[in-house]
């Protein structure tokens, strides 16, 4: 009983395989050129410095070579991608202004009415542009800015100019350079000194055009003593051809501030998901990345925290799930640039049906960064014998007075566990779902309630009816 049909357990079957027939107002021609970049900037009526930033990034992109490590990216054809699509000319200001077909897509995604009311702001990135955004009044009164990045640039150019591209320079890596050249949408969040945002700020992202890239750009600034939890989740329609998602997220957490950034990504299994996420944390600040990667064809994502001043603390909690033909190369990067800084990395990965996961982590302690502490724990769960998990823990420690721990485990769902659970009346698929849910529980319990429920439900649903 225990292993015969396990490979039929369908955890990665894509749940939202639909797309609406949206007619974009402007679609750039396929391929990347200076003309395309200039046209994007012109359409957005951007200041000259942003155009310069984009053009410099384009030159960096052309110079940079593709990564020679991690996942196989050879199937990305940069000439076969639309770099910009604009679904409508103006932004909807209220829910009533949101077009009906877009609303119907939200309905299918199951974004509940109640959520729109209770959440602080719902930004939905539909194609390349944010089409709807609202901010609850009391957030505005507190001086919190939560806008799509394009509006952020228009309405708060002074702030954006000070921080944009400072955490991730436009030539940081090939995909960050690509994003810097053609970025569109994403979120701009500014939390003033001492302000605590009690409810998570949420955004929903979605790709909806064949061969279209998604290049959103998010910038979050947390002033001293402030707190914010930003949540993004995405689902995408299934298309036959390859799709590219290459986002950049920059976060600045100042003295005593705290930021948590939660992502659950469930891209359809044809998407290359290549994201650069980086935060800088100053004195006594805390930055936490919570990252779940369920879908996509290939993911390469290593959220980073640069611990710049004493007392700074960084965390990465991540879940990766790889099924058939999926490669999740995920991990974390912690740079201890000051004494008395600490970091914690907890990574959980699940592989099945020949899927491949990798934990790729980098912990750096700079000279004289004394009394740093870093704890890395990565656990892999293999559902069958065909699947694979690798661990690449890089350490670069240039200071002796430090406490660094690394622990890695690879486990399998054992026959004993399945037998035990089934001896209580659970079916094999229920038993399997229970072991998998338990494995990721330490991270799921950190998620906002609705995400935790959704995550467990997704696992249960996919296990049900998929065995014999």
């Amino acid at each position: 009983m225990a292993v015969k049909d396990i490979e039929q357990v369908g955890l990665d079957t894509y749940k939202f395989g639909f797309h609406d027939d949206i007619q974009p107002v402007y679609t750039s021609p396929k391929g990347l050129s200076e003309d395309v970049v200039r046209e994007i900037s012109r359409q957005k009526d951007e200041p000259a410095w942003m155009l310069d930033f984009r053009l410099e990034a384009l030159r960096q992109f052309e110079r940079k070579s593709m990564p020679t490590w991690g996942a196989d990216l050879s199937r990305i054809d940069f000439d076969d991608i639309h770099y910009y699509i604009r679904p409508q000319d103006r932004q909807a200001r209220s829910w009533d202004d949101v077009p009906e077909d877009i609303k119907s897509t939200f309905d299918k995604l199951g974004i509940p009415e109640a959520e729109r009311k209770f959440l602080a702001g719902v930004g939905a990135q539909y194609d390349s542009e944010v089409v709807y955004h609202s901010i609850r009044d009391d957030l505005e009164e507190q001086g919190v800015i939560f806008l799509d990045m394009d509006s952020g640039l228009r309405e708060h150019e002074d702030i954006v100019r000070d921080y944009f591209g400072t955490v991730i320079p436009n030539g940081d890596n090939k995909f960050a350079a690509l994003n810097s050249a053609v970025w569109s949408g994403g979120s701009f969040v500014y939390v003033p000194e001492g302000v605590r945002v009690d409810i998570p700020l949420q955004a929903y992202f979605r790709i909806n055009a064949e061969n279209m890239g998604q290049f959103e750009r998010t910038l979050i600034i947390v002033e001293p003593g402030a707190y914010v939890h930003y949540v993004e989740g995405c689902t995408a329609p299934v298309y036959a051809t390859d799709s590219l998602h290459s986002a950049v997220v920059e976060i600045i957490v100042k003295e005593g501030g705290r930021c948590r950034y939660t992502t659950i990504q469930n891209w359809s299994t044809d998407v290359f998901n290549l994201v650069t996420k980086r935060a800088v944390a100053y004195r006594d600040a805390t930055m936490e990345w919570v990252d779940g990667n369920l879908g996509s064809k290939v993911t390469m994502k290593y959220p980073a925290v640069y611990l710049m001043e004493p007392g700074a603390h960084g965390e990465v909690l991540s879940i990766a799930f790889a099924g058939e033909d999926q490669h999740q190369d995920a991990g974390a990067k912690m740079v201890h640039a000051a004494p008395d800084t600490s970091s914690l990395i907890t990574s959980k990965s699940i592989s099945r049906k020949g899927g491949r996961t990798a934990y790729r982590g980098y912990v750096q302690v700079m000279p004289e960064a004394e009394r740093c502490r870093s704890n890395v724990e990565c656990d892999a769960l293999l559902i069958d014998d065909r699947s694979r998990s690798d661990t690449y823990p890089y350490m670069d420690i240039e200071e002796s007075d430090v406490a660094i721990q690394h622990e890695a485990t690879v486990s399998k769902v054992s026959d004993q566990q399945l037998f035990y659970l089934m001896s209580r009346g659970l079916t094999q698929e229920q038993a399997m779902a229970m072991v998998v849910s338990g494995f990721i529980e330490p991270i799921v319990k950190e998620l906002p309630m609705e995400y935790a429920v959704e995550m467990n439900r997704l696992i249960e649903l996919q296990m049900e009816g998929s065995i014999g």
């Binding site: 035990y420 089934m422 001896s423 209580r424 659970l426 494995f439 990721i440």
Partner: protein, 257 residues
């Protein structure tokens, strides 16, 4: 065939079981009628745990000949979970650890698996607390991860808690006394005794007579080299305690706890 209420819950006939091609059970015949407690005693290596695992359908245990009927139904073709939903229960000697899964959520799913309609969260909560009280367990126990980091005694008590909540018609207790101190043993035995009644058949598998001081058996069977060599009343257990298994020509070992 003895039967207090005329109904035999478990009927084993000439059961042969192999593990990795080595024959461990070589023709076991045994009945456990509803409402009775039967003890199966034997030295290490006699096949006691093999019988327990084979009855519950562990895939590593190959039934090569014989029959097992439960409530009149041939169960050898049934999967483990189907046997469980039919009313069979095994209290494990070494329960598996399931990290990240709370005792309460596991037990609610297991209970719902054998019910027609789902029990409400509140009703389940009440049921669980009541059973935990009976076994003198801290309510916090319900939110711990299943068997992870449990002491030997906690694991065994957790098995009996599951027995109490799931209310099966046949309970096989596999060396439930091993690893228990005398207080834990009393509590576990108390729990089993409260569950005794007209319906529940119990097969207590043990090396020692100790547990049988607290759970008094209706019948005692002696398993040697994969066969039941003698059956009798509870006095048989006392005799085994005094004389050991040597009279059956079996080598006794003392490594078992």
């Amino acid at each position: 065939m003895t039967a207090t209420n005329g109904q035999t819950t478990l009927s084993i006939r000439d059961l042969h079981v192999s593990v990795e091609d080595a024959e461990i059970l070589r023709g076991v015949t045994l009945d456990v009628p509803a409402g009775e407690v039967h003890a199966l005693m034997g030295p290490n290596g006699s096949g006691k745990s093999t019988l327990a695992n084979a009855l519950m359908g562990h895939p590593a245990y190959d039934v090569t000949a014989g029959q097992v009927h439960f409530k009149g139904r041939d169960v050898l073709d049934l999967e483990t979970d189907e046997r469980a939903r039919l009313g069979m229960f095994l209290a494990f000697q070494y329960p598996a650890e399931i990290p990240g899964v709370r005792v309460a959520s596991f037990l609610r799913l297991a209970l719902n698996a054998r019910r027609e309609s789902e029990i409400s969260v509140m009703a389940f909560r009440r049921l669980l607390l009541e059973k935990m009280q009976m076994l003198r367990m801290d309510p916090k126990f319900a939110s711990r991860y299943l068997n992870e980091g449990f002491s030997g005694g906690e694991k065994k008590r957790n098995e009996i808690l599951q027995l109490a909540v799931l209310e099966p018609e046949l309970a096989i207790l596999d060396e439930t006394d091993s690893g228990l101190d005398i207080d834990a043993l009393r509590i576990v035995a108390d729990g089993v005794n409260r569950l005794r009644g007209s319906d529940l058949g119990v097969l207590v598998i043990t090396h020692y007579q100790r547990l049988l001081n607290y759970i008094e058996p209706d019948r005692v069977h002696v398993l040697i080299d994969g066969r039941v060599v003698e059956s009798g009343g509870k006095e048989l257990a006392e005799r085994l305690e005094a004389e050991g298994y040597e009279r059956y020509g079996a080598a006794t070992t003392s490594e078992d706890a």
